[in-house]
Symmetry: C2
C-alpha cells in the first residue's frame, strides 16, 4: 500500500503552497503531502509585516504557525530550511537540499506544486552587502529588521520605492520614531493611477512628516563598518541614513521551473491553465510565481497578490485531490491604508487598457461616502476606466479617508459581473446616513462615465 | 409660444419627485415644471430624522432646502402646503387645494408624475387623537416630536414596531435620555432574516438599556388630558409611557391614482414599466407610491426605499425630457446602524425565495472582517439565500460591528451581476490587514453555500 501511495510535493510554504497542501489533504486524507520551505518560517503574514515592524501587532500574529501546529492540525509534513534545487520531470523527483547541514536528497513525487513566490528586485546601487539594508519578503526579513531596530535604534531611514510596501513601511518606521525619506525613480506617484487619485495620496504623504522625493535614484551608497552611512542621490545630493529599506518591486521566483523547462508566460512567471496546471503533466503552479487569467483582457498576466495566491492554492489542491475546480480569473485588485487614506485599484488602468487595445476613457469623481450631514462623513474619489465600445467597466481606482477599500471591492465585483455603466449608476445599494449616501460615489462615478461615453 | 409650452406637474416634493423634476428641467430647461407638496417641507432627509431627534445632526441638515433655493438653483416651481385632490386624465388637469386657505384650482398638465410616497400604517389601538403619539414620515412629524420632547421632557417612550425605524428611533430617544420599551407583534425580530442574524441584532438591543418585547401588542391606550398615560399590553400588563412612537410599517399613498383608475400592482402600489410610466399615457409614478421590477424574481414588487425612489425619479425625469432611460430593476437593499451594529438585507429572504418558487437554501457563516490579528478586527455574519438549480445568489443578509453595510452592497452588486456561488468564492478582492482579510467573509459565505448546494 505505502509503496503506491500518492505523494505530493509542494515547493514553498507560504499562502499559496499551504493552501494547496491543506485543501488536497482535507479532500484526500490518504495523500502523502510534503511542503518544502526554504526559510525557517511557514504561512507567515507578509502583508502584516509593516504592523509588526511598527509595533502594532505582535510577532506571533505574523510569524505563521509552527510546524507542529500544521502537522497536527492539517496532517501534512513540512520541511523548513530546505530548498528544492532541481526538478527532474521525467524521473519525477526533486532534489532537496537542507540549508542547515547542506545534505541533499532526492524525493519522488506523483504530483508537484510550485509555490516558489517572488523575490525583491534589487536596484543596481543596492546590490551590496551591508547590515542595514533590508528587504521585506519573508518573516526572516521582518525579524532581521525588527531586531536591528531594537539593537541599533536607527534615527533615519531611507525607503526606496513609493509603492504599497514602501509607503506602508515608511509609515511603520515613522511610527517607531524614525525620520523618513522615500525616493522613487518614477516622476509621478502611482503612475498607473488617475492623476487626481495619485495627487491625493501624494498629498497625504507630504502633509505627514515624511519626505517624498520622486524622479530620483540612488547612484551609490557610502559604506563604513559594513553599514550604509550615506546615499548619493542622482539629483538631490547626499542624504545620511541609518537604515535602507528596499521596496522597489518583485520578480517571480522561477529558477526551478525554468531549469526544468516548464514554460513561462510573457511576464516571466509560470504559465498555468485554470486548473493551475503548468504545461507539464502533474506539475502545478500557484501564487506569486504563476500567472493568472485576467478577467478583463482574458489573457494570462502576472498578478502577484496574496488573495489570488490563496485562491490559486485552493484550486490546485482541489484538482490534485481529484475534484475538478476552476480558477475563474483575477483582476489584480490591491489596496493599502497609509497616512490616513485607504486606496487601491482593480482591473486595468487607463494606459493598461489602451495598451490592451481597448477604446478606453477615464473619468474621476469625488463624492461623500455617507450623508454629508453626518459629522464623520468624508470624501471618496473614484476613477473609472471604461470601454467606449461596450460601455462596461475595465478598471477602477479609489481613495478616501474611510470606506474606500470596500468600495473598491464593489467595483471589482461589478467588473467580474460584467455590469454596464448604466447598471453601475443604478445598483441598488442600501442607504442609511451613518453608512452610505442616497447616491453612492459608485453610482455617481457610473453616471459620469456614462456621460463621457455619450460625448465621445 | 407660452400657450403651447409643455407643463409637467409633479405630485410630491420629496426624493423621488424632486429627482424627477430636477432631471427633467436640467435636460429640458424650456419645460414648465411645478412640484406640489402637501407639507410645508420639501426634499427633507427622512432617513436622517433619527439623528435629528437624537441631537446628533442639526435641523437644517434634514429639513430640506427652501423653496427659494430650489426655484433659484434648479429652476422649477414648488407649491408647498398644497394637496392634489383629484386627477382628470381625460381633460388632463389636476385639482389642487391650498391647505392654507382651502382654495382649490385646476391646473392643466402635459405630463404628470405621481410621487405621493407612503404613509404610516397605524395599529387599531393607536387610531386615536393624542398629543404624544407620533409617526415619523415627513419633516413636520420630526419637528413635532423634537418640539414635544423639548417642551415636555418625557422620561419614558414606548416604540411600536421593531423594524429599522423602530430600532433607530429607540436608540435616538435613548440617547436623549429616555427609558425605552419597544414592542413588536412578531414572535421574532426581523422575521425574514436568518435566525442567527436576527439573534445577533436582538442581542445588541437586549444588551443595551432598552427593553424589547416581542409577540406583543397594545390592546388599548389610557388617555388623560389628550395624552397617552399608559398602554395596556395584551400579555405583559400595563406600561406607563410619556410618548408613543409608531413605527409599524407603511403603505403606499395611492388614493389619487386609485380614484383616477390608474392600475395598481398586487402590493397596492402603482404599476409602472421600466420607464416609470403607469398604464395611463403621460402619467408617471416614482418612489414609495410605485412598484419596481425586482431583479431576482423579474416581477413587479413594492420596494419602498429612498435609494430606489431617487433613481426612479431620475429615470422618469429623463424620459419626460424626451431621452430614453430605463430603470434596470431593484433588489430592495436596505441597511441600518443601531446599537453598535450595521445590518441589512438585499434580494430575497429564504421564505420569500421559496414563495417565489425558487429551490432555495440558506447558509450562514461568521468570519473576521479584516485580519484577525488587527486589534480592531470584528466579526461579520453573512447569510446567503442561494438557488440550488442555478447555483446563484437570490438574496443575503449581513450583520457586524463594522464594514457590514458595504459588504451588503457587494452582495447586491453580485446579485445584479448574476455572479455564481463559485465566482463569489473567488471574487478578486483587494487585501490589506487594516481593511480586509485574505478570505473575505463574502468568499467564505460563497464557499459554504456551494458546499451545501453539492450536498443536496
Amino acid at each position: 500500500m505505502e509503496f503506491n501511495r500518492e505523494k505530493i510535493i509542494v515547493i514553498g510554504g507560504n499562502d499559496a503552497g499551504l493552501s494547496a497542501a491543506g485543501r488536497a489533504k482535507r479532500l484526500r486524507p490518504d495523500l502523502e503531502i510534503i511542503v518544502i520551505e526554504k526559510t525557517p518560517f511557514i504561512g507567515y503574514a507578509s502583508c502584516g509585516f509593516p504592523y509588526f515592524i511598527s509595533g502594532r501587532v505582535m510577532r506571533k500574529s505574523v510569524s505563521g504557525p509552527s510546524i507542529e501546529e500544521i502537522e497536527n492540525r492539517r496532517g501534512f509534513q513540512v520541511w523548513t530550511n530546505h530548498e528544492a534545487v532541481q526538478l527532474d520531470l521525467l524521473k519525477r523527483h526533486v532534489a532537496i537540499k537542507s540549508l542547515l547541514n547542506g545534505e541533499e536528497k532526492r524525493v519522488r513525487f506523483s504530483k508537484l506544486v510550485l509555490a516558489t513566490g517572488a523575490r525583491p528586485l534589487i536596484p543596481q546601487a543596492a546590490k551590496i552587502n551591508a547590515d542595514n539594508i533590508f528587504t521585506l519578503r519573508n518573516f526572516a526579513d521582518a525579524e532581521r529588521l525588527v531586531n536591528y531596530i531594537k539593537t541599533n535604534s536607527p534615527q533615519k531611514a531611507l525607503v526606496l520605492g513609493a509603492g504599497f510596501l514602501g509607503l506602508e513601511m515608511a509609515e511603520a518606521l515613522r511610527q517607531r520614531g524614525l525620520q523618513i525619506v522615500i525616493i522613487d525613480q518614477a516622476p509621478k506617484l502611482f503612475q498607473n493611477y488617475a492623476d487626481k487619485i495619485a495627487a491625493i495620496i501624494e498629498e497625504s504623504i507630504q502633509s505627514s512628516s515624511v519626505e517624498l522625493i520622486l524622479d530620483e535614484k540612488v547612484a551609490q551608497f557610502d559604506i563604513e563598518n559594513n553599514r550604509v552611512q550615506n546615499a548619493h542621490l542622482v539629483k538631490n545630493g547626499i542624504t545620511e541614513t541609518d537604515i535602507v529599506l528596499l521596496a522597489t518591486g518583485i520578480e517571480p521566483n522561477v529558477a526551478l521551473a525554468k531549469n526544468a523547462r516548464i514554460p513561462l508566460g510573457k511576464s516571466g512567471a509560470i504559465l498555468v491553465n485554470n486548473r493551475q496546471e503548468t504545461r507539464r503533466m502533474d506539475i502545478y503552479a500557484v501564487g506569486d510565481c504563476a500567472e493568472s487569467q485576467h478577467l478583463v483582457t482574458k489573457k494570462s498576466a502576472w498578478l502577484p497578490f496574496a488573495g489570488i495566491a490563496s485562491k490559486q492554492g485552493r484550486v490546485a489542491g482541489t484538482n490534485i485531490a481529484g475534484k475538478r475546480m476552476l480558477f475563474p480569473g483575477a483582476l489584480g485588485t490591491a489596496m493599502a491604508k497609509t497616512f490616513g487614506l485607504e486606496y487601491g485599484h482593480t482591473g486595468l488602468s487607463l494606459s493598461q487598457a489602451r495598451e490592451a487595445g481597448f477604446n478606453a476613457i477615464e473619468t474621476v469623481i469625488t463624492a461623500y461616502s455617507k450623508s454629508e450631514y453626518m459629522t464623520d462623513a468624508t470624501e471618496i474619489t473614484v476613477a473609472l476606466v471604461s470601454d467606449l465600445t461596450t460601455k462596461k467597466l475595465l478598471g477602477a481606482q479609489v481613495v478616501g479617508k474611510a470606506d474606500a477599500g470596500q468600495r473598491l471591492n464593489i467595483l471589482a465585483t461589478a467588473i467580474a459581473g460584467h455590469i454596464s455603466l448604466h447598471e453601475l449608476e443604478y445598483l441598488d445599494f442600501g442607504y442609511t446616513p451613518m453608512i452610505s449616501n442616497i447616491w453612492d460615489p459608485i453610482a455617481i462615478a457610473g453616471n459620469a462615465a456614462q456621460k463621457k461615453t455619450k460625448e465621445k
